[in-house]
Each structure stands twice: as C-alpha cells, then as structure tokens.
Amino acid sequence: MPGRWNREGDRSARETQILGWILVVPAMAAVGALILYPLVKGFQQSIQSGGILFGELPGYVGTRNYRDVLNDPTSRDAMRHTLEYVLLAVSLELVLGIFVAVTLHRVFRGRGFVLAVLILPWALPSVVSGVLWRRVFDPDNGLLNSVLLHLHIINQPQVWLASGRGAIIYITLVHVWGVLPLISLIFLAGLQSVPDEVYSASAVDGAGPWRQFRYITLPLLRPSMAIALTVGTLLAISIFDEIYVLNGTALNTRSILIQVYNTTFVEADFAHGTALAFVLAAVTAVLGGFYALALRRSTV
C-alpha cells in the first residue's frame, strides 16, 4: 500500500515548507511593497491618457501610448542605438569582466590594492566621471586630442562625438569603464564557490592555465554569466548618464532611456514615458530569461 505512511504527516517536509516561506517573506515583502505595487500603479499609468496636462480627459486609453512610442521615428532610432550600445557593451563587459575576475581570484601580494583600484570607476559619482570624460573627449581642449596631437597620431583636433558609429563606440567605452567593476565583482562572487581541488586535479591532468579556464572556470561560471549578462544588459539598455553628459540629447547617440527621460522628466508625460519604459523592461526581461535558460544547465 504505497503512501500509507503519509497519514502520519510529514513533519520534516512541513517544516521545510514553513521555513521556506518564512525565509522568503522579508524579501518578497520588501520587493512587493516597494517595487511590485508601484509597478502595477506604473502600468496603470502607462495605459492612461496623459490627462489635463495634454488637453485630454483622464481615462484609460488601452495600448495607445504603446503604439505611439513604438511608432515614433525618434524612438525607433533610439532603439537602434540602444541595441548597438547593448551588444557592444555586454560583449565587452563579459570578456573583460571574466578577465578581471579570474586575475583577481588569485591571491597575490597587493591584491587588496588592485581590488580597491578596480572598484573606483564605479564608486566615482556619475556627475564627476561625466565631467572627467568630458575633459577627455572635449573636441577643442580634450585630453584625448591633446595626447594624440602630441604623438602626431592626428594632425587636427577631432570632434569625437559628432559622428554616429564612433560616438557610440566612445560612449560605450565610457559606460563599460564605469560598469566593469560591478560585472567583475559578480564574476568574482561566482568564483568563490569553485573548489580549489578541481584546479589541482586539472593541473595534474595536463591542463595549463588557458585550458583550466576554458574547461573548469568557464563552465563553473555559467550561473554567474547569466547574472552578469542580465545586469550588463540592464545597465546598457538603460544607458543614460554617459550620453547625456558627453553628447546631450544629440540624435546620433540618443538612447531609449534619454527618450524616456525626456518624455517623463522634461515633458512630464508619464503616460508615454512609462509605456516606453515598460517596453524597455519587457525587452530586458526577455533577454534575461533567455540568458538564464540558455545557461541553466546545472553545473553540479
């Protein structure tokens, strides 16, 4: 008679149930109250008209706002730029992030110092780093121009951010500079759960550093990679400060979030702003889900 013991009640399993719930309550409560609830409100906003501010009666307008933002040519351009930022930034961050994490995973004298230096770009308030980068890329008096002129690599000052492609690349570099510490730390955190002994075993098996990396580190970093990719995408898809400081709202570098910012904070049009932001969130969520699934193959 299978399952006849179940009548006794499964205390072990029940305790696990209860503890599970207790442990997730604080997290769910915080996120539920301060993110999910406002999110629902925000969604309501995105399907409402902008209200009296735009000469309309308040009320639900269905998907109109979404259609508006998706049909707007500037939004479309911004989406294309954003895609470029994301692809470029995320691939750079992935490669550099793993490189940095693997380097810092080894304990060596002075690692503390390097770790401290590593996080500086991230700790620098964005206004300050914006101003510094502006000094670097300034077309007239910038550091970059003056160095390159000095080295005779260029013979007249360049307006770095004027052209489309170039500007997007430079801005992405600035973005990556600021985000790399976070991505590196995510990978570093991931490496903490890799046991030393597999490195011993693989060394004996004849794997050099590169192949240890390829066959041991990389596979074991899979879960972290999903996180890093998601976070990297998240940050790149909402790239803002770097563009705003270096090139304002110029059309050739405008990202979606600048568009969102203009719509919400400049034009006070929260209806369209949130609609566009929701589009952005949906894209990120889809990408994040995709990464997580693609990299899920459990490691242990």
Partner: protein, 405 residues
C-alpha cells in the same frame, strides 16, 4: 525698505507666526539672511538647496504624485506652460502685495499664463554677449558690433589678428546649446511661433531658418571651432574665460563677475558685455528668468507668500545677489543697484534690458519642453551637417504642429 509693512501680505502676519515653510531653490542662501526673515515674520524656514538640473525632476515627480514637496519652489520660465496648465502652482496675483507685483511687471511676463502670474522673478536672466576687449583692441576694433554684418567683418578682423576661432557658441544637443538659436531668431527680427502658436521658422526667408543657417555657416566658415557642435554652454564659458575666443555668444549677465574672478578666469579685467547684434542696430533678446512659486500642495501658502515678498524687497534681493550672483528682477531694485554701482557692467545690462522680451509672447506653451527637446536634437543634427537645415526645421515644425493640435 520699510520691512515690517512690506513683509506682511493681506493675510495677517500673526496667523503665520510659528509656521515652518520649506523652500526649494537651487541656490545657496546664507543662514544669516534667513534668520532675519524669521525675526521679522516669526516664520521658520527649512531651506532646501537642490541641484540645478535636479530641481525640475523633483518637482515633476512630486506634482505628478500630487504630493507635498515645498511651500516655496523654484519656477523656471520654461515651466510656465506645463505647471500652470497642469494646475500645479498657485497664481500669485492675490497672494502678493500689488506693489511687489507691479515692480516685477517687466520680468514676470515669462510667468504669465492665461492672464495669471504664477511666479515672482528672483533671477533676472537674459541673453547677451560677452567679449574680450583686449582681443578687440588688438584687431583694431573699437566697439562691439551692433549688427550681424559688422559682426562678420569683425570676426574676419579678429581672425586676421590671430584669433583662430573668434566666436564661441555652444551648439550641443542640450538646453544650453539650443538657446543660441532662439536668441538668433529673435535677434534677426523674427519669432519662433506666431500668435496662434503656429511654427514660423521653417521657410528659408524666416528668421528662424536664417538663424540656424547662420549657425551652420559659422561652423562651416570656421568662425567657431569644429567642436562647437558638441559644446555645452558651461564649457563654452570656460573656453572664453581661458582666453580662447573673442566673443561669447548668448551668455547670461551673471557671467561678467565670473570673468573678473581671478580664480576662474584668465581674462580678468578684459571682459566686457555687449548687446545682442541685430539686423540693423541691436537686436531683440529674451529673458530666461527664474521665479519663486507656491505649489498647490503647499501647506502654508500665506507664509510662503510672505517669504517671496520678503525676498523681493530691494534690500534683501541685493543681499542675496551678493551671495548667489543672480541678478534681481524688481525695477526699483535694479535702479538702486545701478545707482549705487553695485552692478558690474550695469550700463550695458540696463540697455539690453530694454530689448528683452519673453520668448513666447503669450507665455511658454504647455508643450514647450517637448519642443525644446525636439529642437535640441534636430538643430544639433543640422549644424553637424547630418541633416539639412531645411529638413531639420521641417521636421521640427511638423512635430510642433502636431503638439498644438
């Protein structure tokens, strides 16, 4: 001035005693002055200094949420359409003494919407030029050009005397980079919009078109450095202060003291203000004043009004000017400052003030911010040559027209 009588509004000063108001303004205010206000009115002030860029964001969020944020809040001329249209701020017409309002008449035009005044000006900002007297002298120019033709000639003279890029105009895709176009449009004798808020800048014979073309040509002709297309107004000022150019176009009056501050400027004593050039004789300029408003969510409106009124008194306005550098607005205050020589470049300022009007005759429209955001991107694309002037302005006009529907 007679402080006790002027600080009391129509509401009895007793009823506000003991109240605490929050004031949200992007400038520092010495505690000493606030103490004086408290001593006079019994109102305590919680003075919140915000970041310049952040102020608008904070107000937008709080107001959209219909939530209290301050009793007295910053109010830029560009907010007028938006904030008044949304009903976020109280009209001041009945809250401030008539005398104070009358004194502010000239500057407050920018804050009027639907016949009501929504803010009291405290920072009298408008656009004019600044130039380097020494460079002018070296090029043999004796006075600042009054017309665009003279300007062109002078620029060539300056170039001949060794100034590579005599002109400094910020043209980045930012608010600071778009104002020169507005200014040029007015200076060339035109308007951006007609009385019905229809765009009038898209035909080649319009002032707006000519103005943008002029900017694009300035880049092409090498009057300005190639980097100008990515230049923001603060950097433009810095470059001018470093002595890199002879003329800073479309700057604010508060920058002359800065040019004479040896810790910031390499051209101390060499800078002078110049009137905005025009087609024949000085052209029109426009004001970008900042004012103090009372949000509808304010808790102590009477006390807030008392504070604004206190600020506008010449004695206080001048004291505040000395710490903040924002030019007062009241006609009597300016007079007093010019008379006592407390205003650097006072004569030019006084002259320019006669050419200053609001950018929008009927007050900034509700969609001004959208228009400005569109203009920034499109004008920038035009001066970069990524788009023709015609295309940029046509697109801009189309967008603007769509908004007015």
């Amino acid at each position: 001035g007679g402080s006790s009588s002027s600080s009391g509004s129509s509401a009895s000063s007793e009823s506000i005693r003991g109240q605490t108001i929050t004031v949200l303004v992007p400038y520092v205010m010495p505690q000493k002055l606030l103490n004086q206000f408290t001593a006079e009115t019994g109102v305590n002030v919680n003075y919140v200094r915000t970041g310049w860029d952040a102020t608008h964001n904070k107000l937008i969020v709080a107001n959209t949420a219909k939530t209290y944020i301050a009793d007295v809040a910053e109010f830029d001329w560009s907010f007028t359409g938006q904030f008044a249209g949304a009903g976020w701020v109280e009209p001041l017409d009945n809250l401030l003494p008539a005398k104070t309002l009358a004194d502010l008449k000239s500057t407050d035009a920018a804050f009027v919407s639907g016949g009501k005044t929504y803010a009291a000006c405290y920072s009298n900002d408008f656009r004019l030029s600044m130039y380097n007297k020494q460079m002018f002298a070296k090029a043999g120019i004796t006075s600042f050009p009054a017309t665009f033709d003279e300007l062109a000639t002078d620029i060539q003279k300056l170039q001949a005397s060794g100034v590579k890029y005599p002109l400094q105009i910020p043209m980045a895709a930012t608010e600071g980079g778009i104002t020169p176009w507005y200014l040029l449009t007015l200076a060339m004798g035109g308007q951006l919009f007609d009385q019905n808020l229809k765009p009038v800048f898209q035909t080649p014979d319009s002032a707006g078109y000519k103005a943008l073309q002029w900017e694009a040509d300035a880049v092409k002709n090498g009057w300005v450095s190639p980097g100008s297309v990515a230049l923001n107004d603060d950097v433009a000022l810095n470059d001018f202060l470093a002595g890199q150019s002879a003329i800073l176009f479309a700057t604010g009056p508060g920058n002359l003291p800065t040019a004479n501050d040896p810790s910031q400027s390499s051209i101390v004593g060499k800078a002078a203000l110049g009137l905005v050039p025009g087609v024949d004789g000085p052209g029109a300029s426009f004001g970008l004043p900042e004012g103090l408003s009372i949000p509808v969510t304010a808790k102590h409106k009477a006390a807030a009004a008392a504070f604004i009124n206190w600020w506008e008194q010449p004695k206080n306005a001048i004291a505040i000017y000395k710490t903040q550098g924002s030019l007062p607005c009241g006609t009597s205050t300016i007079k007093q400052m010019v008379a006592t020589g407390q205003l650097q470049g006072g004569d030019v300022l006084n002259q320019e003030l006669t050419h200053v009007g609001p950018l929008f005759q009927a007050g900034a429209p509700i969609w001004y911010s959208q228009f400005s955001a569109d203009a920034q991107g499109l004008a920038n694309a035009a001066v970069k040559g990524q788009m023709s002037v015609q295309d940029a302005l046509t697109q801009l006009a189309d967008k603007a027209s769509a908004r007015t529907q």
